[in-house]
Symmetry: C2
Subunit: 256 residues, 2 copies
DNA sequence: GAGTGGTCTAGACCACAGA
DNA sequence: CTGTGGTCTAGACCACTCG
C-alpha cells in the first residue's frame, strides 16, 4: 500500500506506456541504456534500474547482461486448456501434433521439445501421491519445451516402475496418442485427472533454464492421472513462467 | 540468472532459514529493525531492506509502515477445489457454510465476508462473455472475503439484468444453496463451468484491500457458468493473493 | 516527537557480452 | 578493452504509527 510517492513506479509506468500504448519501443527492440533513460527522465540510474526490474518481473521486457534491455516478443499469453489437451483428438503426440504443439502453433510459433527418460528417486510430492517412500525408484520422463527459441515449460512425468518397466513408457518415442494411450493399452486407462497448482519464485535451476529473474513467478502444476480403480498411475509436474501462460479448466456440474 | 554474488539474496536466505528452519522468529513475531539486522549481518541497511522486500514478496513476512516487519501467520496456503466447491453438498451458503467457509475453517480460521449488490456497467471481460456491448448494465454481487482479520479474496459475480431483475439474485441474502441454486430455480441451471486463470501484479485498489505489496502477485480467475442451452448466465471474477492460495481442479476423461 | 520502513542519489565496483 | 546492467554503500529525506 504505497501511499509513498515512488518515482520508480512512475518511471516504470512511463516506459510501460511507451511500449504498450505509444509503441515507441516495439517488440524485440532494445531500450535506451539505463544511463540515457535516467538522463532523459531526470532521475538517477538506480531509479531507472529499479523501474526496469519491475517491468522485467512482469515479463514486459527482458535483460541480457552486458548487452542491454529489450522489449519482450511474447506479449500474448500461451493458452492451455487442461481438460481439452487430454482429449483423444488433441493427443496425436507421436505425429508431432500433441497438445503442446497446438498451444504454441496457435500463436504462430514453432514448438520444440527435448525429452530425457531415466529412472530417478521419487521426489517427495510424487512419493506421497503414489503412496511409497520418498526415494523409491520411479521412471521419469523430463521434457523441456520451447516456443521458437524461448524456453516456456519444464514438464516431468513420473511413473511407477512396476507399470513402466520394459514398456513403451520407457521409450524415447512414446508413439501415437502420447503416453496416455500407452497407459490405456497396458490396462491402466486414466479415467480421472486432477491438477493442483500454486505460484512461487523459480528455483535457481528453473530460473536458469527458463531465463527468468528472481522477481518473476512460476506456476507449479501437479497433474495426476487415475485409473477407474482409483490408482494414481502418473504424476506430471509442470513448471511454467506465470507471465507466459493462461490456464483454463472446464467441467460438468453434477445435477442437483 | 544471477551468477552475480548478490548479498541481498544471501541475507534473505539467512532470514528465511531463521523463520522456517530454526524458528528463531515465530509466526506473528516482529523482526529486529532493519538497522539492527544490518549491523548484525554486516551489511548496509539498504541491503537488508531489499532482502526483506524479497521475503515480503513471497508472503513470508509483512511490513507495517512505521511499526516494523513481522512474520506472517498464514504460512499454509488456503486450498480451493473448483469442481468440489460447486457440488450441492458444499453450497449451503445461506446457512453460513458455503464453499469459502469450508476452505477457511479447514485451516482453523474464522471466515468472514461482506457483500455489496448493485448494478454496474459490464467490464470488458464480462461483456465479451455475455456477448453484449461493454458498458451494458449488469447486476454485480461483489464479495470481499477474510480469514480471521486478514483479507484473502475479492469475488465479483456479474449477472445479466434480464435474468436477475426482481429476483433473489438481486437480494443481499441469496438464500440456501447459494446463488447457483437460485439460477436453477429461475430456469437457468448451470450444467457446465469454466475457469480461466492468469497471474499478474495487483491493481492499486486490489493491493490496497488485500494488503499486498507491488512485488506480490494475484490470481485472476474468470469463472463462467453455462446453461444446458450453452448460454453463459454468470461470470465471477476472483482476485486472490497468489501466495495465499493453492487451486485444485478435477475432471473426468472422456473414453477413447 | 520518536521509532520504523520506503525511497532517492551519488559514486564505486563487479560480471558478462562482444569486438 | 569497452559497453551494459547488477549490486553495494553511505547519507539524506520522507511517510506512517503511536504515545
Amino acid at each position: 500500500m504505497p501511499t509513498t510517492p515512488s518515482q520508480y513506479r512512475e518511471v516504470a509506468q512511463r516506459i510501460r506506456d511507451r511500449i504498450l500504448r505509444d509503441r515507441v519501443y516495439l517488440p524485440g527492440a532494445q531500450l535506451p541504456k539505463e544511463f540515457e533513460l535516467a538522463a532523459e527522465l531526470g532521475v538517477d540510474r538506480a531509479t531507472v534500474n529499479r523501474a526496469l526490474r519491475v517491468l522485467a518481473a512482469e515479463g514486459l521486457v527482458y535483460v541480457r547482461r552486458g548487452k542491454g534491455t529489450f522489449v519482450s516478443t511474447l506479449l500474448t499469453p500461451i493458452h492451455r486448456n487442461a481438460a481439452a489437451r487430454y482429449r483423444p483428438e488433441n493427443r496425436t503426440e507421436g505425429g508431432g501434433r500433441g497438445a503442446f504443439d497446438v498451444e504454441i502453433r496457435r500463436l504462430g510459433l514453432e514448438p520444440k521439445s527435448e525429452l530425457t527418460v531415466s529412472r530417478v528417486p521419487a521426489p517427495e510430492v510424487v512419493a506421497k501421491v503414489f503412496g511409497v517412500e520418498p526415494g523409491t525408484e520411479v521412471v521419469a520422463r523430463a521434457r523441456r519445451m520451447f516456443a521458437g527459441e524461448a524456453p516456456v515449460q519444464i514438464a516431468t512425468s513420473y511413473i511407477p516402475v512396476d507399470i513402466a518397466a520394459g514398456t513403451a513408457l520407457e521409450e524415447q518415442d512414446s508413439g501415437p496418442g502420447g503416453i496416455v494411450s500407452r497407459f490405456a493399452e497396458l490396462g491402466y486407462a486414466q479415467v480421472r485427472m486432477s491438477e493442483r497448482l500454486s505460484v512461487r519464485p523459480p528455483a535457481d535451476e528453473e530460473a536458469n533454464f527458463l531465463k527468468m529473474t528472481p522477481d518473476q513467478r512460476v506456476y507449479e502444476v501437479v497433474h495426476v492421472g487415475w485409473t477407474a480403480e482409483g490408482r494414481p498411475v502418473e504424476v506430471c509436474v509442470h513448471i511454467m513462467p506465470a507471465h507466459l501462460w493462461e490456464l483454463e479448466y472446464d467441467w460438468e456440474v453434477p445435477v442437483g
